[in-house]
């Protein structure tokens, strides 16, 4: 049996966007994946073992039937065009071309456009909008950093190759001895697998990250701080602050431990502010651990096309932005939206019950390649080809380095790229609305 090995494949799972994967293909089936972590391997392999959708589905009065793509698109277009406040959500697990068509669709519809960052690093965006964000590409960290801090994140579970590829273990230009040249600090509420690899673990009390950051910043400026803050002793705080001040290049990576716990964007605000402060002493950067492989791309594309990275409301014709009002959970929990288009995402699995309840009560259209709880509640389901495996396109890594996704195998018959499906949908919607179809040059 002839085998084909595709090298330097980009992994479409997490924000690490590792681009050194080898995929072995036999008769248009992926039979082996090399270099990838368990998560990446699962994604590549899932295409042949998972619950793949291959036919458009229409759900009427509780019963599901297979329909033609044309019929599915027609139904979907009508539902969306009829809506007064449609939500267009997802976008982080597809390529940038599809995202760009999504923006045009939201614009024509006068809808609310949101990507999954509203439930991952949306708070990081808000913090960046308040105080900025000194950062860099991952190679800067690999080549220069001698102090790595992971705060409220667990890369060993969520970004399994982050430490080995970018931060802790690789040898860098100025860090020839690899891990021996670096100190690793982990700050978390639990002694995670990542923490077990650290030189130093600081266990912070749940929901007290902001206090710990405030104390560290005050201590950095040589103010006196209390004996114990957030469950951490003054001695430990001062020692970590000294480590930070005295390194040559420090890098602070953070995750949902900051963005989801009490304080949310303000935790990130204070963490960024700490890093800003540290630049008066040494070189220090901060970077969010982005989850979905192209959530950074969704932020990027939405921003260059609308000015805003997520939670964009087109109801007045021009983009408006205010998470708290215009993010997916806001419009769902406040029962504002009256239809939804979900692209490459599964909010039913990942949103709180209150939001899911409203979603289940309105017409939903899903574009996805697998059966998920969200496709279960959808009136229209359109099968898609998998970006990064069956479709080329651009994705942005967690440090916003854009990389070209590869096509490794052909999609199953009838499964089109997201951007093609969306283009057809856009055309149909424009027809109903009686407006000229905008030309989406991108992709």
């Amino acid at each position: 049996m002839p085998e084909r090995v595709v090298s330097d494949v980009v992994c479409p799972f997490c924000g690490c966007l590792c681009d050194d994967i080898e995929v072995v293909v036999r008769e248009n089936r992926i039979v082996e994946v090399r270099e990838a972590c368990a998560l990446g391997t699962a994604k590549f392999m899932s295409l042949s073992v998972g619950e793949r959708i291959t036919k458009p589905l229409l759900r009427v009065d509780g019963s599901v039937r297979q329909v033609s793509l044309e019929e599915a698109l027609k139904e979907a277009a009508k539902m969306l065009a009829d809506a007064e406040r449609p939500l267009l959500y997802g976008w982080s697990s597809t390529e940038c071309g599809a995202q760009a068509v999504g923006v045009a669709l939201a614009e024509v519809l006068g809808g609310v456009l949101d990507n999954t960052s509203s439930v991952c690093h949306g708070p990081t965006v808000l913090a960046t909008q308040d105080v900025g964000c000194p950062s860099c590409t991952l190679g800067q960290v690999k080549n220069r950093a001698d102090l790595i801090i992971y705060w409220g994140c667990n890369p060993m579970q969520a970004h399994p190759r982050h430490m080995s590829r970018y931060t802790t273990f690789p040898r860098g230009f100025f860090r020839e001895r690899g891990v021996k040249d670096k100190k690793i600090v982990v700050i978390d509420v639990r002694h995670t697998e990542t923490a077990r690899l650290a030189d130093r673990f600081i266990q912070v009390e749940l929901g007290k990250d902001y206090e710990l950051l405030a104390a560290m910043r005050a201590a950095l400026k040589e103010y006196e701080i209390p004996e114990k803050v957030a469950g951490v002793s003054r001695k430990d705080i001062l020692e970590v602050v000294e480590l930070m001040k005295n390194c040559q290049f420090g890098a602070l990576f953070f995750g949902m431990g900051l963005t989801m716990s009490f304080g949310k964007h303000r935790n990130v605000d204070n963490a960024i502010s700490l890093v800003k402060d540290l630049n008066a002493y040494t070189k220090f950067i901060i970077m969010p651990m982005r989850g979905h492989y192209n959530v950074a791309g969704a932020n990027t594309v939405f921003t260059w096309e609308t000015g805003f990275p997520y939670a964009v409301d087109f109801s007045r014709g021009y983009p408006r932005y205010n998470p708290g009002e215009t993010a997916a959970n806001d419009v769902l929990q406040n029962e504002e939206c009256d239809a939804a288009l979900i692209v490459a995402s599964d909010p039913v699995s990942h949103f709180p019950a209150k939001a899911v309840k409203h979603l289940a009560s309105i017409p939903v259209i899903s574009i996805d390649f697998h059966h998920t709880p969200t496709t279960e509640i959808s009136k229209v389901v359109i099968p898609a080809a998998v970006a990064g495996v069956e479709v080329e396109g651009t994705a942005y890594r967690m440090d916003t380095v854009p990389i070209r996704l590869k096509k490794v195998v052909e999609p199953p018959e009838g499964c089109l790229p997201d951007r093609e499906i969306l283009r057809m949908l856009l055309e149909k919607v424009c027809e109903i609305k009686g407006v000229e179809t905008p030309v989406v040059k991108h992709a």
Partner: protein, 575 residues
């Protein structure tokens, strides 16, 4: 009527490349090109009556931050700017947002409204240039190109330090081709690499940490490489010590480095080997912020004696804007002064960058001096072909203020009105109040289109209205027979702000100041054939660099042509 034929009748034409100075004549367009008016029959063409109007070639912007990673980071972290200027979706146009950091649609539309048709992106870091292309491709109307930041690049610093200019040239050729970029950009040479350690560089003779090379060596090395390759545009630099009191000495030293260097473009007709961007930002004297003063006059004096240097202005417009530059250490300094939010984005092996919002106030002496310094250079440099309009958008102000800058150039009265609003000690720190020169409309046409087209090496088809040129035309509602720019600068500002017509490659894109359509786009890039053997050798060495120090695979680094809407390689055989 063939829509691809347009006859513009009886306008006052300002076309400096063809030495036409306000002559009343017809301009004819066929299939996207300027043709002899005799070849277009009135009945078959769309006729535009330009009687009593100004007709110029489409504007050419040599330096503007309009697309790519730092521009977008600026948009992302300034939602408060995003809501400042909006226009809803409709009439076939996409929605606009943003004042100093407009979205891509607003960028294309607003440039077109000013009568501009060609805009060069000022700086793109190689590793993120795919992003720059994605945005340029998504920007309507404009023809574009981007300058590739190469000066703080490890590979280049190593080659230059070893004196391996040939190899360096082979590498640059590969980089420009792989990144689909137009020319070589330098930003704070050496300073950006030092910023990797939180440090900077303070003179062109300083040494870069570890790499042990000076900015002067980098600058001269890249000028040399630029001319070995014969690129259409010259080496394009953002000097060291930008924004600092006393920086003009560094500027003059940088100027001096180009002395006696060759000028040998293989395409185009430029006469410079050094283009210094946003000259205003380092035309300062003084020891510190208290003694801060303009040295625009000194800079102009140098330019008057050295025709091998061109500059663009980076003119301050007194707006709330967003500063953004690959000069990472400068932005750090700026945020430590104005205490506003700060983004920093260093790029492995290549460069750095930073972004900080900034408000220019006439009552601030420093800001007033900055405003004066830009105008001093513009007005005291005798040859307008060495000068190009820019606000270093959005650094010194948004590009939408170009008509206001023109107002200051053409009218002493307009300058006096602004000086009256400025800090009262400005006259002690600048000669601006004593300058009488007022630009003519011909000179305005030089600095807003002709000089840039020539300096870019694209004057064969851009920046003029001779037969064979791209049919990029701007028509403004200003009657030079009846109106005097010097006395009615506001009328000129208004006319330039909203072109009566903008035509891009034969397509009418603006009518009565409103955008009415799109036009075919082109993205220019240098496709150089230098030395295949040597390039192979260079790439072999490069594999190791990628494997060890980059975080992307070398095979995933180059950008394929499919990323470019209207890919237009400029083919150059250098050897």
């Amino acid at each position: 009527m063939t829509k691809h034929m347009i006859l513009i009748k009886n306008g006052f034409v300002y076309d400096p490349i063809n030495k036409i100075d306000g002559e009343k004549m017809d301009i004819a367009i066929k299939e996207g090109k300027i043709v002899d008016p005799k070849k277009v029959k009135e009945k078959e063409a769309k006729v535009i009556d330009a009687r009593g109007k100004v007709v110029m070639p489409g504007g050419v912007d040599i330096h503007s931050h309009v697309a790519g990673p730092k521009v977008n980071a600026g948009r992302l972290f300034r939602p408060e700017d995003g809501r400042r200027q909006v226009r809803p979706f409709g009439q076939g146009l996409r929605a606009e947002t943003g004042f100093s950091v407009p979205n891509v649609f607003a960028t294309g539309y607003r440039y077109a409204q000013l009568g501009y048709t060609t805009v060069m992106e000022a700086a793109t870091p190689p590793l993120k240039t795919r992003h720059t292309h994605e945005e340029m491709s998504d920007t309507p109307i404009l023809d574009q190109g981007a300058y590739l930041i190469l000066d703080n690049n490890w590979v280049i610093m190593e080659y230059l330090k070893a004196g391996e200019y040939e190899k360096c040239a082979a590498f640059v050729a590969w980089m420009l081709r792989s990144m689909k970029c137009f020319g070589i950009k330098s930003v704070n040479p050496g300073g950006d690499e030092n910023w990797g350690w939180g440090k900077n560089i303070s003179s062109v003779r300083d040494r870069v940490i570890y790499f042990d090379i000076s900015p002067a060596e980098i600058i001269q090395g890249l000028i040399r490489v630029n001319e070995m390759l014969g690129l259409p545009h010259s080496f394009h630099i953002h000097c060291n010590n930008l924004g600092l009191p006393g920086s003009y000495t560094t500027t003059l030293e940088t100027f001096g480095l180009s002395d006696g260097m060759p000028i040998s473009p293989k395409v185009g007709e430029r006469s410079q080997n050094l283009h210094v961007a946003h000259i205003q930002f380092y035309s300062y004297g003084g020891e510190d912020w208290k003694t801060f003063e303009s040295k625009g006059d000194e800079v102009a004096k140098y330019l008057n004696n050295h025709s091998n240097i061109t500059v663009c202005l980076g003119q301050v417009t007194f707006d709330e804007t967003t500063t953004m530059t690959a000069d990472g250490p400068f932005e750090y300094l700026l945020q430590s002064i104005n205490k506003l939010k700060w983004i920093n984005r260093d790029v492995e092996l290549e460069t750095s960058s930073g972004i900080v919002p900034y408000i220019y106030r006439p009552r601030s002496l420093v800001n007033a001096v900055q405003w004066a310094a830009g105008l001093e250079v513009a007005l005291l440099t005798k040859n307008p072909w060495q000068i190009m309009m820019s606000t270093d958008h959005p650094n010194a102000g948004p590009f939408t203020r170009y008509p206001r800058v023109v107002k200051w150039l053409v009218s002493k009265k307009a300058r006096e009105e602004t000086i009256a609003k400025c800090h009262e000690t400005l006259p002690n720190r600048s000669s601006i109040a004593s300058i009488d020169r007022e630009y003519t409309l011909y000179e305005v046409a030089v600095v807003t289109r002709a000089s840039a087209a020539e300096a870019l090496g694209i004057s064969g088809f851009k920046g003029h209205l001779g037969v064979g040129a791209d049919a990029d035309v701007a028509i403004y509602d200003f009657n030079p027979e009846k109106q005097d720019p010097s006395r009615e600068p506001e009328a000129l500002e208004k006319a330039l702000s909203r072109a009566l017509y903008t035509i891009k490659r034969g397509h009418i894109v603006v009518e009565n100041g409103e955008v009415v359509g799109d036009a075919p786009k082109r993205v220019f890039w240098a496709d150089i054939c230098f030395d295949e053997e040597l390039e192979k050798q260079v790439l072999d060495e490069l594999h190791e660099t990628f494997a060890k120090y980059y975080t992307v695979s070398m095979s995933n680094y180059p950008i394929s042509e499919e990323y470019l809407v209207g890919s237009t390689p400029i083919k150059i055989t250098s050897k």
